[in-house]
Subunit: 239 residues, 2 copies
């Protein structure tokens, strides 16, 4: 039986051993949803980077550069952090360097901590990704990106959804209260994810920035079966 | 309208401003439940200390010394961390120095961070404490002690219960996802706290150490109206 541990904030990652485990980075609104979309739409790779300077430096190496800070698109960047900007052939066969407030830093943190594989989590491909993880068979860490190290509702909700799918009602074998907590939250919210998240701080923040469509899209279930994981410094299709 | 923020682990306390706020330290199983019981049973003060050495040094100053590590009573100490050891006149008019794995360290951390008042949280006096906080009117931080910096279910459950009582269904005014999360968990667990917590890691840990009775007691609602808070380095009855 594989073990699943939910880490509710990157600030708590140091308490969890991730070596020889698969780490799913979760930044539902919007980084990891956008990464999965970009790869599904034919981008050849997404390279998560921590700083805007790193992204800008990669522009000279043929990358499209994409990113946001505090929900705002970055000046002079090719793309923001909206999944819709990755559609209609805009990223096909392109490499993208992406930097965001929370999610892309987590990919780096999980890599630095020695994860076996770092996987991008999203509702858009949750079933395919869960199946991939079950088949791979390693213990799993579900790492919520949160908001500036604070716990958020949407990433916790996704962690609960994925833990539920993988454990298949075998919850009582868990030795991790964070996982129980995430599953409990998902049990409450699963019948209407968007309705459940209206109260959350980032939903409110993105609503104020007119990203309503992005949020609806990011909460859509199983639009595709592409699974996205990291090899070296870039994220690719791995199934 | 006062603001309520739940901090799910002491490792996240640095993200939250606590100055000029009331901080409720929550270590339901068992430190803060035991502190409240001791004061209600007539102890003149409880002094939370971080190390066993600090406790032992206070024995020479007339304190009863109490404590545990990893759920086990400490060798040579007068009392463990069970609320029942504080009953039947055993602590009446006594001062107690208490050191525990998680809870007592949080009292110190909240004090060091500059909290206006540090309050001991327990189900045993939850209504009286919530009323005291509402009357006092300062913004509130509900600080879950967790287990060695990891998030736990029972402290989150209590934080949700107290936030619910104080906000009185005014949840949509909250700008803190951790508070929403705690309230959601409480909504799921409120009809049978003990049943809800059977799955939690610390419930299992204490069950293995034969502390079943302690846990049932610590989940009892409103056994008394004594409110316990810190003045200088000691905790007293404050109502």
């Amino acid at each position: 039986m594989l073990e699943i541990e939910v880490v509710l904030s990157p600030a708590l990652l140091r308490l969890t051993e991730v070596r020889n485990k698969n780490v799913v980075v979760i930044d539902i609104l919007r980084a990891t949803s956008t990464i999965c979309t970009a790869i599904h739409e034919g981008a050849s790779a997404v390279r998560p980077v921590k700083t805007t300077e790193e992204a800008i430096a990669l522009k000279n190496h043929g990358y499209l550069i994409a990113g946001e800070r505090d929900g705002h698109k970055l000046e002079g960047f090719d793309l923001g952090n909206s999944p819709f900007e990755c559609m209609n052939g805009r990223v096909t066969n392109q490499k993208i360097a992406l930097t965001t407030t929370n999610g892309t830093k987590c990919v780096q943190a999980a890599t630095d901590a020695g994860a076996s594989n770092v996987i991008a989590g999203s509702f858009l491909n949750i079933d395919a990704t869960s199946e991939w993880l079950k088949k791979d068979g390693k213990d799993i860490v579900l790492l919520c990106a949160g908001w500036k190290d604070k716990v958020n509702l949407e990433d916790t909700l996704f962690a609960g959804a994925m833990a539920s799918k993988i454990l298949n009602n075998n919850f009582y074998t868990l030795d991790c209260d964070s996982t129980h907590l995430a599953i409990d939250v998902y049990e409450l919210g699963k019948h209407n994810l968007a309705q459940f998240l209206i109260k959350s701080s980032h939903y409110q923040r993105l609503s104020n920035l007119h990203h309503q469509e992005d949020m609806e899209y990011c909460l859509s279930l199983n639009l595709f079966e592409t699974v996205v994981g990291q090899k070296n410094v870039e994220m690719f299709k791995i199934n």
